[in-house]
Symmetry: C2
Subunit: 319 residues, 2 copies
Protein backbone atom coordinates (compact mmCIF):
# COMPACT_ATOMS: atom_id res chain seq x y z
CA UNK A 1 0.00 0.00 0.00
CA UNK A 2 1.38 3.40 -0.95
CA UNK A 3 1.93 6.01 1.70
CA UNK A 4 -0.53 8.84 2.15
CA UNK A 5 1.90 11.33 0.64
CA UNK A 6 2.53 9.24 -2.47
CA UNK A 7 -1.20 8.71 -2.98
CA UNK A 8 -2.00 12.38 -2.66
CA UNK A 9 0.82 13.30 -4.96
CA UNK A 10 -0.10 10.76 -7.59
CA UNK A 11 -3.80 11.49 -7.85
CA UNK A 12 -4.42 14.98 -6.61
CA UNK A 13 -1.47 17.00 -7.85
CA UNK A 14 -2.07 18.62 -11.21
CA UNK A 15 -0.84 21.90 -12.60
CA UNK A 16 -2.80 24.86 -11.30
CA UNK A 17 -3.72 27.89 -13.37
CA UNK A 18 -4.13 30.70 -10.86
CA UNK A 19 -2.62 29.49 -7.57
CA UNK A 20 0.74 30.82 -6.35
CA UNK A 21 1.49 27.75 -4.24
CA UNK A 22 -0.72 24.65 -4.18
CA UNK A 23 -0.54 21.24 -2.49
CA UNK A 24 2.60 20.49 -0.45
CA UNK A 25 3.23 23.29 2.07
CA UNK A 26 1.47 24.23 5.30
CA UNK A 27 -1.05 26.31 3.36
CA UNK A 28 -1.86 27.16 -0.22
CA UNK A 29 -1.22 30.70 -1.45
CA UNK A 30 -3.32 32.65 -3.93
CA UNK A 31 -3.95 36.24 -4.92
CA UNK A 32 -7.55 37.40 -5.30
CA UNK A 33 -7.97 39.95 -8.07
CA UNK A 34 -8.18 43.59 -7.01
CA UNK A 35 -11.69 44.88 -6.28
CA UNK A 36 -13.10 41.39 -5.90
CA UNK A 37 -15.03 40.00 -2.98
CA UNK A 38 -14.51 36.37 -1.98
CA UNK A 39 -17.40 33.92 -1.82
CA UNK A 40 -16.64 30.78 0.19
CA UNK A 41 -18.73 27.70 0.77
CA UNK A 42 -18.07 24.37 2.44
CA UNK A 43 -19.89 21.03 2.27
CA UNK A 44 -19.49 17.66 3.93
CA UNK A 45 -20.66 14.58 2.03
CA UNK A 46 -20.94 11.43 4.10
CA UNK A 47 -21.22 7.90 2.66
CA UNK A 48 -24.60 6.44 3.52
CA UNK A 49 -26.12 9.87 4.18
CA UNK A 50 -25.40 11.84 1.01
CA UNK A 51 -24.38 9.09 -1.36
CA UNK A 52 -24.35 5.32 -1.62
CA UNK A 53 -20.95 3.91 -0.60
CA UNK A 54 -20.83 2.00 -3.91
CA UNK A 55 -21.49 5.09 -6.07
CA UNK A 56 -19.30 5.12 -9.15
CA UNK A 57 -16.21 7.04 -7.91
CA UNK A 58 -15.86 9.06 -11.12
CA UNK A 59 -19.42 10.34 -10.74
CA UNK A 60 -18.82 10.93 -7.04
CA UNK A 61 -15.70 13.01 -7.76
CA UNK A 62 -17.65 15.12 -10.23
CA UNK A 63 -20.60 15.58 -7.91
CA UNK A 64 -18.50 16.39 -4.84
CA UNK A 65 -17.15 19.46 -6.58
CA UNK A 66 -20.32 20.21 -8.56
CA UNK A 67 -22.51 20.68 -5.49
CA UNK A 68 -20.08 23.27 -4.15
CA UNK A 69 -19.85 25.05 -7.50
CA UNK A 70 -23.62 25.25 -7.32
CA UNK A 71 -23.40 27.19 -4.06
CA UNK A 72 -21.09 29.74 -5.68
CA UNK A 73 -23.29 29.89 -8.78
CA UNK A 74 -26.19 30.75 -6.49
CA UNK A 75 -24.28 33.85 -5.32
CA UNK A 76 -23.30 34.87 -8.85
CA UNK A 77 -19.64 34.12 -8.06
CA UNK A 78 -16.95 32.79 -10.34
CA UNK A 79 -15.36 29.64 -8.90
CA UNK A 80 -11.55 29.75 -8.52
CA UNK A 81 -10.05 27.44 -5.88
CA UNK A 82 -11.15 24.21 -4.22
CA UNK A 83 -9.83 22.37 -1.16
CA UNK A 84 -10.59 18.70 -0.61
CA UNK A 85 -10.75 16.87 2.70
CA UNK A 86 -10.88 13.14 2.09
CA UNK A 87 -11.43 10.56 4.81
CA UNK A 88 -11.06 7.02 3.50
CA UNK A 89 -11.39 3.62 5.14
CA UNK A 90 -8.25 2.58 3.25
CA UNK A 91 -6.04 3.59 0.37
CA UNK A 92 -7.87 2.03 -2.59
CA UNK A 93 -5.82 3.15 -5.55
CA UNK A 94 -8.40 2.31 -8.24
CA UNK A 95 -11.07 4.20 -6.34
CA UNK A 96 -8.79 7.20 -5.87
CA UNK A 97 -7.82 7.23 -9.55
CA UNK A 98 -11.46 7.28 -10.68
CA UNK A 99 -12.58 9.73 -7.98
CA UNK A 100 -9.80 12.20 -8.76
CA UNK A 101 -10.46 11.90 -12.51
CA UNK A 102 -14.12 12.82 -11.93
CA UNK A 103 -13.17 15.67 -9.62
CA UNK A 104 -10.65 17.10 -12.07
CA UNK A 105 -13.10 16.71 -14.97
CA UNK A 106 -15.43 19.05 -13.10
CA UNK A 107 -12.59 21.34 -12.02
CA UNK A 108 -11.28 21.73 -15.59
CA UNK A 109 -14.75 22.31 -17.00
CA UNK A 110 -15.31 25.24 -14.63
CA UNK A 111 -11.76 26.63 -14.38
CA UNK A 112 -11.18 25.64 -10.75
CA UNK A 113 -7.74 24.92 -9.24
CA UNK A 114 -7.54 22.16 -6.65
CA UNK A 115 -5.26 24.17 -4.39
CA UNK A 116 -4.95 21.95 -1.34
CA UNK A 117 -6.46 19.34 0.88
CA UNK A 118 -6.05 16.72 3.53
CA UNK A 119 -6.30 12.94 3.36
CA UNK A 120 -6.82 10.76 6.34
CA UNK A 121 -8.15 7.39 7.44
CA UNK A 122 -11.69 6.94 8.66
CA UNK A 123 -15.26 6.39 7.47
CA UNK A 124 -15.69 7.60 3.86
CA UNK A 125 -16.37 11.34 4.10
CA UNK A 126 -15.74 14.09 1.58
CA UNK A 127 -15.34 17.70 2.51
CA UNK A 128 -15.00 20.45 -0.05
CA UNK A 129 -14.38 24.12 0.52
CA UNK A 130 -14.65 26.29 -2.53
CA UNK A 131 -13.51 29.87 -3.00
CA UNK A 132 -14.85 32.12 -5.73
CA UNK A 133 -14.70 35.75 -6.64
CA UNK A 134 -17.21 38.36 -7.66
CA UNK A 135 -17.09 42.14 -8.05
CA UNK A 136 -17.45 43.57 -4.54
CA UNK A 137 -21.07 44.18 -3.64
CA UNK A 138 -22.53 42.26 -6.60
CA UNK A 139 -23.46 39.02 -4.83
CA UNK A 140 -27.00 37.73 -5.28
CA UNK A 141 -28.11 36.70 -1.79
CA UNK A 142 -31.33 35.20 -0.50
CA UNK A 143 -32.38 38.49 1.02
CA UNK A 144 -33.01 40.72 -2.00
CA UNK A 145 -36.41 39.50 -3.20
CA UNK A 146 -39.21 42.09 -3.71
CA UNK A 147 -42.99 41.71 -3.85
CA UNK A 148 -43.98 41.28 -7.45
CA UNK A 149 -40.73 39.63 -8.56
CA UNK A 150 -41.11 36.69 -10.90
CA UNK A 151 -39.90 33.37 -9.48
CA UNK A 152 -37.80 31.35 -11.90
CA UNK A 153 -36.16 27.95 -11.78
CA UNK A 154 -33.54 26.57 -14.16
CA UNK A 155 -33.41 23.23 -15.94
CA UNK A 156 -35.49 20.32 -14.75
CA UNK A 157 -35.83 20.06 -10.98
CA UNK A 158 -37.25 16.70 -9.87
CA UNK A 159 -35.18 14.38 -12.03
CA UNK A 160 -32.66 13.66 -9.26
CA UNK A 161 -35.39 12.79 -6.75
CA UNK A 162 -36.91 10.36 -9.25
CA UNK A 163 -33.45 8.90 -9.85
CA UNK A 164 -32.99 8.33 -6.13
CA UNK A 165 -36.45 6.76 -5.85
CA UNK A 166 -35.60 4.47 -8.79
CA UNK A 167 -32.30 3.39 -7.21
CA UNK A 168 -34.16 2.66 -3.98
CA UNK A 169 -36.86 0.70 -5.86
CA UNK A 170 -39.54 3.08 -4.61
CA UNK A 171 -40.68 3.91 -8.12
CA UNK A 172 -40.91 2.07 -11.42
CA UNK A 173 -39.74 4.16 -14.36
CA UNK A 174 -39.25 3.06 -17.93
CA UNK A 175 -35.64 2.08 -18.78
CA UNK A 176 -34.93 5.36 -20.64
CA UNK A 177 -36.54 7.46 -17.92
CA UNK A 178 -34.72 5.56 -15.22
CA UNK A 179 -31.33 6.13 -16.83
CA UNK A 180 -32.08 9.82 -17.44
CA UNK A 181 -33.09 10.39 -13.81
CA UNK A 182 -30.17 8.47 -12.29
CA UNK A 183 -27.80 10.43 -14.50
CA UNK A 184 -29.32 13.69 -13.17
CA UNK A 185 -28.77 12.46 -9.61
CA UNK A 186 -25.20 11.33 -10.08
CA UNK A 187 -23.87 13.92 -12.48
CA UNK A 188 -25.50 17.28 -11.73
CA UNK A 189 -24.65 20.32 -13.83
CA UNK A 190 -23.76 23.30 -11.67
CA UNK A 191 -25.27 26.43 -13.23
CA UNK A 192 -22.12 28.49 -13.01
CA UNK A 193 -22.53 30.51 -16.24
CA UNK A 194 -26.19 31.16 -15.43
CA UNK A 195 -25.31 32.49 -11.99
CA UNK A 196 -22.80 34.89 -13.52
CA UNK A 197 -25.25 36.05 -16.20
CA UNK A 198 -27.89 36.82 -13.57
CA UNK A 199 -25.74 39.39 -11.74
CA UNK A 200 -27.58 42.68 -11.91
CA UNK A 201 -30.79 40.91 -12.99
CA UNK A 202 -31.85 38.53 -10.20
CA UNK A 203 -32.76 40.15 -6.87
CA UNK A 204 -32.47 36.92 -4.86
CA UNK A 205 -31.17 33.47 -5.67
CA UNK A 206 -30.24 30.09 -4.20
CA UNK A 207 -29.60 26.61 -5.46
CA UNK A 208 -32.26 23.95 -4.98
CA UNK A 209 -30.45 21.30 -3.00
CA UNK A 210 -33.08 20.33 -0.42
CA UNK A 211 -36.29 20.72 -2.43
CA UNK A 212 -37.82 23.61 -4.34
CA UNK A 213 -40.50 24.64 -1.83
CA UNK A 214 -38.25 24.24 1.20
CA UNK A 215 -35.47 26.22 -0.40
CA UNK A 216 -37.90 28.88 -1.62
CA UNK A 217 -38.83 29.20 2.05
CA UNK A 218 -35.30 30.45 2.78
CA UNK A 219 -35.78 33.27 0.30
CA UNK A 220 -39.19 34.13 1.77
CA UNK A 221 -37.70 34.24 5.23
CA UNK A 222 -34.68 36.32 4.29
CA UNK A 223 -36.55 38.61 1.90
CA UNK A 224 -39.59 38.91 4.18
CA UNK A 225 -41.96 38.00 1.32
CA UNK A 226 -44.54 35.40 0.42
CA UNK A 227 -44.82 33.43 -2.78
CA UNK A 228 -47.49 32.20 -5.13
CA UNK A 229 -46.55 29.22 -7.29
CA UNK A 230 -48.69 28.44 -10.32
CA UNK A 231 -48.95 24.68 -10.86
CA UNK A 232 -49.84 25.26 -14.50
CA UNK A 233 -46.43 26.87 -15.00
CA UNK A 234 -44.40 24.01 -13.47
CA UNK A 235 -42.20 22.06 -15.89
CA UNK A 236 -43.85 18.66 -15.30
CA UNK A 237 -43.87 17.26 -18.83
CA UNK A 238 -40.31 15.91 -18.78
CA UNK A 239 -40.90 14.30 -15.38
CA UNK A 240 -44.10 12.64 -16.59
CA UNK A 241 -42.21 11.40 -19.64
CA UNK A 242 -39.82 9.43 -17.41
CA UNK A 243 -42.70 7.18 -16.41
CA UNK A 244 -43.58 8.91 -13.12
CA UNK A 245 -47.26 9.45 -12.40
CA UNK A 246 -48.67 12.93 -11.76
CA UNK A 247 -48.31 12.78 -7.97
CA UNK A 248 -44.76 11.44 -8.16
CA UNK A 249 -43.79 14.09 -10.71
CA UNK A 250 -45.20 16.92 -8.61
CA UNK A 251 -43.63 15.69 -5.42
CA UNK A 252 -40.25 15.26 -7.10
CA UNK A 253 -40.39 18.74 -8.57
CA UNK A 254 -41.61 20.58 -5.47
CA UNK A 255 -39.91 18.61 -2.67
CA UNK A 256 -37.08 16.65 -4.25
CA UNK A 257 -33.52 17.74 -3.63
CA UNK A 258 -30.17 17.15 -5.25
CA UNK A 259 -30.83 18.73 -8.66
CA UNK A 260 -28.73 21.81 -7.96
CA UNK A 261 -30.81 24.00 -10.19
CA UNK A 262 -30.98 27.74 -9.51
CA UNK A 263 -34.13 29.29 -8.09
CA UNK A 264 -34.20 33.04 -8.49
CA UNK A 265 -36.42 36.09 -8.26
CA UNK A 266 -36.24 38.86 -10.83
CA UNK A 267 -38.34 41.93 -11.58
CA UNK A 268 -41.21 41.27 -14.00
CA UNK A 269 -39.81 43.87 -16.41
CA UNK A 270 -36.67 41.73 -16.85
CA UNK A 271 -38.55 38.73 -18.32
CA UNK A 272 -37.20 39.28 -21.82
CA UNK A 273 -33.65 39.56 -20.48
CA UNK A 274 -34.02 36.30 -18.54
CA UNK A 275 -35.41 34.50 -21.58
CA UNK A 276 -32.56 35.89 -23.69
CA UNK A 277 -30.05 34.39 -21.24
CA UNK A 278 -31.88 31.06 -21.41
CA UNK A 279 -31.65 31.16 -25.19
CA UNK A 280 -27.98 32.16 -25.24
CA UNK A 281 -26.97 29.47 -22.76
CA UNK A 282 -29.22 26.80 -24.26
CA UNK A 283 -30.89 25.99 -20.94
CA UNK A 284 -34.52 26.06 -19.89
CA UNK A 285 -35.60 28.80 -17.48
CA UNK A 286 -39.13 28.40 -16.15
CA UNK A 287 -41.17 31.23 -14.66
CA UNK A 288 -43.26 29.42 -12.02
CA UNK A 289 -44.80 32.16 -9.90
CA UNK A 290 -44.19 35.44 -8.15
CA UNK A 291 -43.28 36.91 -4.77
CA UNK A 292 -46.16 38.37 -2.75
CA UNK A 293 -46.44 40.79 0.13
CA UNK A 294 -47.56 38.15 2.67
CA UNK A 295 -44.43 37.35 4.71
CA UNK A 296 -43.46 33.67 4.64
CA UNK A 297 -46.79 32.61 3.19
CA UNK A 298 -46.53 30.07 0.42
CA UNK A 299 -49.52 29.54 -1.85
CA UNK A 300 -49.94 27.04 -4.68
CA UNK A 301 -52.47 27.84 -7.39
CA UNK A 302 -53.91 24.59 -8.75
CA UNK A 303 -54.65 24.20 -12.46
CA UNK A 304 -58.39 24.52 -11.65
CA UNK A 305 -57.82 27.77 -9.76
CA UNK A 306 -58.03 26.37 -6.21
CA UNK A 307 -55.43 27.68 -3.75
CA UNK A 308 -53.34 25.36 -1.56
CA UNK A 309 -51.16 26.31 1.40
CA UNK A 310 -48.45 23.65 1.78
CA UNK A 311 -46.04 23.35 4.65
CA UNK A 312 -42.70 25.03 4.04
CA UNK A 313 -40.59 22.01 4.79
CA UNK A 314 -37.39 20.97 3.15
CA UNK A 315 -35.22 18.02 3.89
CA UNK A 316 -33.59 18.41 7.29
CA UNK A 317 -30.48 16.35 7.89
CA UNK A 318 -31.26 16.02 11.59
CA UNK A 319 -35.04 15.71 11.34
Amino acid sequence: MSSEFELIHRHFTRPTAHTDLAVGDDAALMRPRPGMQLAVSTDMLVAGTHFFPDTDPHDLGWKTLAVNLSDLAAMGAEPRWAFLGLTLPGADEAWLAAFSAGLFACASRYGVDLAGGDTTRGPLTLSITILGELPAGKAITRAGGHTGDDIWVSGQPGLAALGLAALQHRIDLGPTGREHCIRALQHPTPRVELGLALRGIANAMLDVSDGLLGDLGHILERSDCGAEIDIALLPLAELRATGADEAQARRALLAGGDDYELLFCAPADRRDTVLKIAHEQGIALHRIGRLTGHPRQLMLRETDGRLLYPMLSGYDHFA
Copy 2:
Protein backbone atom coordinates in the same frame (compact mmCIF):
# COMPACT_ATOMS: atom_id res chain seq x y z
CA MET B 1 -34.34 17.06 19.17
CA SER B 2 -33.84 20.43 17.56
CA SER B 3 -33.57 20.75 13.82
CA GLU B 4 -30.19 21.11 12.14
CA PHE B 5 -30.87 24.76 11.35
CA GLU B 6 -31.80 25.64 14.93
CA LEU B 7 -28.73 23.86 16.31
CA ILE B 8 -26.38 25.61 13.93
CA HIS B 9 -27.98 28.92 14.62
CA ARG B 10 -27.88 28.53 18.38
CA HIS B 11 -24.30 27.41 18.77
CA PHE B 12 -22.36 28.55 15.76
CA THR B 13 -23.75 31.98 14.97
CA ARG B 14 -21.87 34.78 16.63
CA PRO B 15 -21.19 38.31 15.44
CA THR B 16 -18.33 38.47 12.97
CA ALA B 17 -15.75 41.24 12.86
CA HIS B 18 -14.52 41.27 9.27
CA THR B 19 -16.98 39.19 7.25
CA ASP B 20 -19.49 40.86 4.90
CA LEU B 21 -21.95 37.95 5.04
CA ALA B 22 -21.48 34.92 7.29
CA VAL B 23 -23.52 31.78 8.05
CA GLY B 24 -26.95 31.53 6.40
CA ASP B 25 -26.66 32.04 2.64
CA ASP B 26 -25.25 29.82 -0.12
CA ALA B 27 -21.76 31.16 0.54
CA ALA B 28 -20.02 33.55 2.90
CA LEU B 29 -18.70 36.84 1.55
CA MET B 30 -15.54 38.62 2.62
CA ARG B 31 -13.15 41.23 1.28
CA PRO B 32 -9.41 40.49 1.47
CA ARG B 33 -7.37 43.62 2.09
CA PRO B 34 -5.65 45.18 -0.93
CA GLY B 35 -2.15 43.90 -1.66
CA MET B 36 -2.63 40.79 0.46
CA GLN B 37 -2.13 37.22 -0.59
CA LEU B 38 -4.45 34.55 0.79
CA ALA B 39 -3.12 31.54 2.70
CA VAL B 40 -5.60 28.67 2.96
CA SER B 41 -5.33 25.37 4.78
CA THR B 42 -7.75 22.55 5.43
CA ASP B 43 -7.71 19.69 7.94
CA MET B 44 -9.91 16.71 8.69
CA LEU B 45 -10.02 15.38 12.26
CA VAL B 46 -11.61 11.96 12.66
CA ALA B 47 -12.76 10.51 15.98
CA GLY B 48 -10.67 7.48 16.83
CA THR B 49 -7.86 8.51 14.47
CA HIS B 50 -6.99 12.06 15.56
CA PHE B 51 -8.74 12.26 18.92
CA PHE B 52 -10.50 10.04 21.41
CA PRO B 53 -14.29 10.12 20.89
CA ASP B 54 -14.70 11.00 24.58
CA THR B 55 -12.30 13.98 24.46
CA ASP B 56 -13.64 16.92 26.42
CA PRO B 57 -15.64 18.80 23.76
CA HIS B 58 -14.43 22.24 24.90
CA ASP B 59 -10.81 21.17 24.44
CA LEU B 60 -11.70 19.53 21.14
CA GLY B 61 -13.31 22.73 19.87
CA TRP B 62 -10.20 24.69 20.80
CA LYS B 63 -7.84 22.17 19.25
CA THR B 64 -9.83 21.77 16.02
CA LEU B 65 -9.25 25.42 15.24
CA ALA B 66 -5.80 25.65 16.85
CA VAL B 67 -4.22 23.02 14.59
CA ASN B 68 -5.37 24.97 11.54
CA LEU B 69 -4.15 28.26 12.97
CA SER B 70 -0.81 26.53 13.38
CA ASP B 71 -0.68 25.86 9.62
CA LEU B 72 -1.20 29.55 8.90
CA ALA B 73 1.32 30.53 11.57
CA ALA B 74 3.84 28.30 9.80
CA MET B 75 3.43 30.43 6.65
CA GLY B 76 3.66 33.71 8.53
CA ALA B 77 0.01 34.46 7.75
CA GLU B 78 -2.55 36.29 9.86
CA PRO B 79 -5.66 34.14 10.40
CA ARG B 80 -8.94 35.76 9.38
CA TRP B 81 -11.79 33.37 8.52
CA ALA B 82 -12.65 29.79 9.43
CA PHE B 83 -15.19 27.36 7.98
CA LEU B 84 -16.34 24.33 9.95
CA GLY B 85 -17.65 21.06 8.58
CA LEU B 86 -19.16 19.01 11.36
CA THR B 87 -20.36 15.44 10.97
CA LEU B 88 -22.12 14.19 14.08
CA PRO B 89 -23.72 10.88 14.98
CA GLY B 90 -26.56 12.83 16.57
CA ALA B 91 -27.51 16.27 17.74
CA ASP B 92 -26.14 16.28 21.30
CA GLU B 93 -26.86 19.77 22.52
CA ALA B 94 -24.54 19.69 25.56
CA TRP B 95 -21.67 18.45 23.40
CA LEU B 96 -22.35 21.13 20.79
CA ALA B 97 -22.51 23.87 23.40
CA ALA B 98 -19.13 22.90 24.88
CA PHE B 99 -17.50 22.26 21.50
CA SER B 100 -18.61 25.59 20.08
CA ALA B 101 -17.52 27.42 23.27
CA GLY B 102 -14.02 25.94 22.89
CA LEU B 103 -13.93 26.76 19.20
CA PHE B 104 -15.01 30.35 19.76
CA ALA B 105 -12.56 30.77 22.65
CA CYS B 106 -9.77 30.00 20.19
CA ALA B 107 -11.36 32.10 17.44
CA SER B 108 -11.68 35.16 19.70
CA ARG B 109 -8.14 34.80 21.03
CA TYR B 110 -6.72 34.93 17.51
CA GLY B 111 -9.19 37.29 15.83
CA VAL B 112 -10.81 34.70 13.57
CA ASP B 113 -14.38 34.93 12.25
CA LEU B 114 -16.29 31.68 11.93
CA ALA B 115 -17.73 32.62 8.56
CA GLY B 116 -19.58 29.48 7.53
CA GLY B 117 -19.87 25.73 7.69
CA ASP B 118 -21.92 22.65 7.18
CA THR B 119 -23.43 20.24 9.69
CA THR B 120 -24.55 16.77 8.85
CA ARG B 121 -25.15 13.34 10.32
CA GLY B 122 -22.49 10.64 10.29
CA PRO B 123 -19.46 9.38 12.17
CA LEU B 124 -17.90 12.18 14.27
CA THR B 125 -15.60 14.06 11.90
CA LEU B 126 -14.42 17.66 12.04
CA SER B 127 -13.25 19.55 9.02
CA ILE B 128 -11.80 23.03 9.22
CA THR B 129 -10.74 25.29 6.41
CA ILE B 130 -8.95 28.43 7.45
CA LEU B 131 -8.19 31.53 5.43
CA GLY B 132 -5.50 33.99 6.35
CA GLU B 133 -3.77 36.94 4.78
CA LEU B 134 -0.19 38.06 4.40
CA PRO B 135 1.54 40.75 2.35
CA ALA B 136 1.90 39.31 -1.16
CA GLY B 137 5.20 37.45 -1.59
CA LYS B 138 6.06 37.39 2.13
CA ALA B 139 5.03 33.80 2.92
CA ILE B 140 7.58 31.59 4.69
CA THR B 141 7.44 28.29 2.84
CA ARG B 142 9.33 25.02 3.34
CA ALA B 143 11.49 25.68 0.31
CA GLY B 144 13.60 28.65 1.38
CA GLY B 145 16.19 27.05 3.67
CA HIS B 146 19.91 27.68 2.94
CA THR B 147 23.03 25.76 3.93
CA GLY B 148 24.32 27.24 7.18
CA ASP B 149 20.92 28.39 8.44
CA ASP B 150 20.29 27.80 12.12
CA ILE B 151 17.45 25.39 12.87
CA TRP B 152 15.10 26.59 15.62
CA VAL B 153 12.09 25.14 17.33
CA SER B 154 9.58 26.94 19.53
CA GLY B 155 8.25 26.00 22.95
CA GLN B 156 8.46 22.45 24.21
CA PRO B 157 7.99 19.79 21.54
CA GLY B 158 7.46 16.31 23.01
CA LEU B 159 4.94 17.14 25.71
CA ALA B 160 1.94 16.15 23.60
CA ALA B 161 3.47 12.76 22.69
CA LEU B 162 4.08 12.07 26.37
CA GLY B 163 0.51 13.13 27.12
CA LEU B 164 -0.82 10.69 24.53
CA ALA B 165 1.40 7.90 25.90
CA ALA B 166 0.12 8.66 29.40
CA LEU B 167 -3.53 8.55 28.28
CA GLN B 168 -2.85 5.23 26.57
CA HIS B 169 -1.09 3.87 29.69
CA ARG B 170 2.13 3.36 27.74
CA ILE B 171 4.12 5.52 30.12
CA ASP B 172 4.04 6.28 33.82
CA LEU B 173 4.54 9.97 34.61
CA GLY B 174 4.22 11.71 37.93
CA PRO B 175 0.79 13.30 38.55
CA THR B 176 2.01 16.85 37.83
CA GLY B 177 3.94 15.74 34.76
CA ARG B 178 0.99 13.74 33.52
CA GLU B 179 -1.40 16.68 33.82
CA HIS B 180 1.07 19.02 32.14
CA CYS B 181 1.59 16.68 29.17
CA ILE B 182 -2.10 15.88 28.67
CA ARG B 183 -2.85 19.60 28.75
CA ALA B 184 -0.26 20.14 25.99
CA LEU B 185 -1.92 17.42 23.92
CA GLN B 186 -5.46 18.66 24.35
CA HIS B 187 -4.97 22.42 24.36
CA PRO B 188 -2.12 23.31 21.99
CA THR B 189 -1.08 26.94 21.59
CA PRO B 190 -0.83 27.91 17.94
CA ARG B 191 2.22 30.16 17.46
CA VAL B 192 0.40 32.79 15.47
CA GLU B 193 2.27 35.85 16.76
CA LEU B 194 5.61 34.07 16.40
CA GLY B 195 4.85 33.20 12.77
CA LEU B 196 4.06 36.84 12.02
CA ALA B 197 7.20 38.08 13.79
CA LEU B 198 9.39 35.72 11.76
CA ARG B 199 8.39 37.22 8.40
CA GLY B 200 11.56 38.55 6.82
CA ILE B 201 13.70 36.60 9.31
CA ALA B 202 13.02 32.87 8.83
CA ASN B 203 13.97 31.41 5.43
CA ALA B 204 11.87 28.26 5.83
CA MET B 205 9.26 27.18 8.36
CA LEU B 206 6.63 24.56 9.14
CA ASP B 207 4.68 23.45 12.14
CA VAL B 208 5.64 20.24 13.90
CA SER B 209 2.48 18.16 13.69
CA ASP B 210 3.84 14.73 12.77
CA GLY B 211 7.18 14.72 14.64
CA LEU B 212 10.20 17.01 14.58
CA LEU B 213 12.55 14.87 12.49
CA GLY B 214 9.89 13.75 10.03
CA ASP B 215 8.67 17.32 9.54
CA LEU B 216 12.22 18.63 9.26
CA GLY B 217 12.54 16.12 6.40
CA HIS B 218 9.93 18.12 4.45
CA ILE B 219 12.12 21.22 4.70
CA LEU B 220 15.22 19.27 3.66
CA GLU B 221 13.33 17.90 0.65
CA ARG B 222 11.87 21.22 -0.44
CA SER B 223 14.99 23.25 0.33
CA ASP B 224 17.38 20.62 -1.08
CA CYS B 225 19.48 20.71 2.10
CA GLY B 226 20.65 18.40 4.83
CA ALA B 227 20.55 19.01 8.57
CA GLU B 228 22.70 18.41 11.59
CA ILE B 229 20.88 18.30 14.92
CA ASP B 230 22.89 18.67 18.08
CA ILE B 231 21.47 16.50 20.87
CA ALA B 232 23.16 18.70 23.49
CA LEU B 233 21.03 21.63 22.27
CA LEU B 234 17.69 19.82 22.49
CA PRO B 235 15.31 21.11 25.19
CA LEU B 236 15.02 17.84 27.10
CA ALA B 237 15.02 19.10 30.69
CA GLU B 238 11.29 19.88 30.84
CA LEU B 239 10.48 16.49 29.35
CA ARG B 240 12.68 14.69 31.87
CA ALA B 241 10.99 16.67 34.63
CA THR B 242 7.61 15.15 33.73
CA GLY B 243 8.88 11.78 34.84
CA ALA B 244 9.87 10.44 31.42
CA ASP B 245 13.18 8.59 31.17
CA GLU B 246 15.90 9.76 28.77
CA ALA B 247 14.86 7.48 25.88
CA GLN B 248 11.19 8.43 26.25
CA ALA B 249 12.04 12.13 26.40
CA ARG B 250 14.22 11.98 23.29
CA ARG B 251 11.72 9.94 21.32
CA ALA B 252 8.88 12.29 22.30
CA LEU B 253 10.89 15.34 21.29
CA LEU B 254 12.24 14.03 17.99
CA ALA B 255 9.38 11.84 16.76
CA GLY B 256 6.28 12.88 18.69
CA GLY B 257 3.59 14.86 16.92
CA ASP B 258 0.70 17.06 17.95
CA ASP B 259 2.62 19.85 19.69
CA TYR B 260 2.11 22.36 16.87
CA GLU B 261 5.34 24.15 17.62
CA LEU B 262 7.10 26.01 14.80
CA LEU B 263 10.30 24.63 13.31
CA PHE B 264 12.18 27.25 11.31
CA CYS B 265 15.49 27.99 9.64
CA ALA B 266 17.08 31.42 9.89
CA PRO B 267 20.47 32.85 8.93
CA ALA B 268 23.07 32.57 11.70
CA ASP B 269 23.49 36.35 11.71
CA ARG B 270 19.84 36.74 12.83
CA ARG B 271 20.34 34.88 16.12
CA ASP B 272 20.02 38.01 18.22
CA THR B 273 16.84 39.02 16.39
CA VAL B 274 15.31 35.59 16.98
CA LEU B 275 16.20 35.69 20.67
CA LYS B 276 14.76 39.18 20.93
CA ILE B 277 11.45 37.90 19.52
CA ALA B 278 11.50 35.04 22.04
CA HIS B 279 12.02 37.53 24.84
CA GLU B 280 9.32 39.92 23.60
CA GLN B 281 6.76 37.16 23.19
CA GLY B 282 7.72 35.32 26.36
CA ILE B 283 8.20 31.99 24.63
CA ALA B 284 11.20 29.69 24.42
CA LEU B 285 13.00 29.45 21.08
CA HIS B 286 15.64 26.71 20.92
CA ARG B 287 18.46 26.64 18.39
CA ILE B 288 18.96 22.90 17.85
CA GLY B 289 21.21 22.59 14.80
CA ARG B 290 21.91 23.86 11.32
CA LEU B 291 21.19 23.15 7.67
CA THR B 292 24.00 21.50 5.72
CA GLY B 293 24.87 21.13 2.05
CA HIS B 294 24.17 17.35 1.93
CA PRO B 295 20.73 17.06 0.32
CA ARG B 296 18.18 15.21 2.47
CA GLN B 297 20.83 13.89 4.82
CA LEU B 298 19.89 14.10 8.47
CA MET B 299 22.64 13.75 11.06
CA LEU B 300 22.31 13.73 14.85
CA ARG B 301 25.37 14.73 16.87
CA GLU B 302 25.36 12.81 20.17
CA THR B 303 26.45 14.52 23.37
CA ASP B 304 29.69 12.49 23.23
CA GLY B 305 30.42 13.63 19.67
CA ARG B 306 29.31 10.47 17.83
CA LEU B 307 27.24 10.99 14.70
CA LEU B 308 23.95 9.15 14.09
CA TYR B 309 22.00 8.95 10.82
CA PRO B 310 18.34 8.30 11.71
CA MET B 311 15.58 7.46 9.24
CA LEU B 312 13.58 10.45 8.11
CA SER B 313 10.19 9.08 9.01
CA GLY B 314 7.24 10.94 10.34
CA TYR B 315 3.85 9.66 11.24
CA ASP B 316 1.97 8.59 8.13
CA HIS B 317 -1.81 8.40 8.42
CA PHE B 318 -1.93 5.51 5.95
CA ALA B 319 1.25 3.69 7.05
